[in-house]
Symmetry: C2
Subunit: 141 residues, 2 copies
DNA sequence: CTAGGTGCAAAAGGTTTGCGGTTAA
DNA sequence: TTAACCGCAAACCTTTTGCACCTAG
């Protein structure tokens, strides 16, 4: 097996791809499956290593291209901390990120509707935001 | 004149530098003065262009080094949107950023104490943040 | 005088692109 | 069949670094 997607995941991938006029390939499935399998916010390079267990000949360029495709299709989110390598995340609900200074780990922080509203409330008249990014750096126990 | 710092600004620069065991140079003054002069969040390359009006021989590497020094001294903040070139900002008070999709302009969004508290309130038990970044993308009128 | 800073050029590091061959539909 | 995709390598772009010269203190 070149990927471990559930039937549902396979369907949502293929739907999203075909809605965008894109093909379903084993590279895209494998990359998607790796992103879903472990939500530890891997970099492209991490994804390469993991995908190669199933698809030993995949290239880094293809990983980047697949990730971009998945992000464009709205299946995956790209997370940036400063200028560090981009990380990728299958959590599509609005959430913040917390980076632990000690371990370097990145955690998702759930945001309820009320929090999201109060976030947008900081914007003065005349500003309307389509997206936001909220990230913290600190220590976790 | 190689820079247009006010007396106060000159003092705070020199104080910060000497507190960190660093020298006052005309390159550092000029870069600092450019950052203070126009708070439009210039990139390192923008800063290079502007500083060269006063200091035609300054190199891009020196601009990067000076900016890093100023950031380390706490006089300037580095602002990143995704993986776009870093931008620099003299606003030291806690604030968010808003990037206008149409113009590409970046605006500072002031944050009052209450907003900052409610931001931190999204963190679950066990997480304590030293820093946060909040940025919006959308349209402004 | 001398440690630290500058300018230059080269390297680094992440990401993107061009191209010839491969594959999904 | 054929447009889209892949793998490879080279290019790209921002940022950092090494080194010889210069300068603030």
């Amino acid at each position: 097996m070149s990927s471990n997607l559930t039937k549902k995941q396979k369907i949502s991938l293929n739907t999203a791809l075909s809605q965008n006029g894109l093909r379903s390939t084993k590279q895209r499935s494998s990359v998607y499956s790796v992103i879903l399998a472990k939500t530890d916010h891997p970099t492209a390079d991490d994804v390469l290593t993991r995908v190669r267990k199933n698809l030993p000949t995949i290239s880094l360029a293809t990983v980047y291209n697949c990730l971009e495709t998945l992000v464009d299709c709205g299946l995956v989110r790209q997370v940036n901390f400063d200028r560090a390598p981009s990380r990728f995340c299958p959590n599509l609900r609005p959430h913040a990120h917390f980076k632990c200074k000690q371990s370097g780990d990145i955690f998702d922080i759930a945001l309820d509707t009320k929090s999201i509203e109060s976030l947008h409330a900081v914007l003065p008249e005349g500003f309307s935001a389509e997206n936001f990014e909220l990230s913290f750096v600190g220590n976790s126990l």
